[in-house]
């Protein structure tokens, strides 16, 4: 087990590579998920604002 982690002395290089790969892949996975959530929240907020504005002007029309 210890030999597996030591990677014949190259532990730093090998595990750094795999570690960075993991980070890059996860970042690519998470980024669109967060972006989609943000977009939908943004659109919802704008909808609510529009609805509020419409209801306000609606009550003012004679």
């Amino acid at each position: 087990m210890k030999e597996f982690f030591a990677m014949g002395g190259y532990a730093f290089y090998v595990w750094m590579s795999y570690g960075i790969a993991l980070v890059v892949l996860i970042a690519n996975l998470v980024s669109p998920l967060m972006q989609r959530r943000k977009l939908l929240a943004d659109i919802a907020r704008r909808q609510r604002r529009q609805r509020r504005a419409e209801s306000r002007t609606g009550s003012r029309t004679p």
């Binding site: 290089y13 750094m16 590579s17 980024s31 669109p32 659109i43």
Partner: protein
Amino acid sequence: MWTLIVRFLHQMASPQYFYRIAGRLVPWFMVPCALLMLAGLYGGLILAPPDYQQGESYRIIFIHVPSAWMSLFVYVVMAAAGVIGLVWRIKLAEVVAISSAPIGASFTFLALVTGSLWGKPMWGAWWVWDARLTSELILLFLYLGVISLYSAIEDKRVAARAVAILALVGVVNIPIIHYSVEWWNTLHQGATIAKFDKPSMHTSMLIPLLLMALAFKLFYAGVVLMRARCEVLERERNSRWVQSLVEPQTR
């Protein structure tokens, strides 16, 4: 059969349809990707024996080579989608093109970094300016150029066309990267797998490599669909179907 395909492609051209279908397709790519990656990592890290010349450090290959292949593959897809969007004005092609750029840039970055981490113990240097490394670095800059040009232009339909031309101009770099090890005396190793005769790599190392390559391809497919959905939402945000996505229409 043919009419079914044509009808499918026609429907896919509609952003709303694409958004739904892409959402359902993503897990079908990501789950096999995860499985293949686990299999590849097991084969590469545990089953495959150490290399007689390079010892254990060669195991970086299972990340380095698939990333490098993907960096080229994604660029070609991006350029092709760009051309389709430019010539036939298909929105979906434009969306796929720009969604591919950050993913391709990530793979290029990964290839460069893992290559560097492999080169240090093997060649004694973190970086050399040989033909393949230099042209791969240029590829990274090309990706970054596409991303920044797209974000700089406000009208996204115009931006997509501009970026398509940029990607097309940069596509000359792809054969340069690929053939650089043949055309120049480089420090980087020559082709071992893309040769059409027997590949000079042992099967116990070749299989995990190909598994990882396939896993990366599936990863790209899944993530590009996820990004494309975001891009579609952004572009179509004022349309009725997006509005009703957020809150169902009550009037």
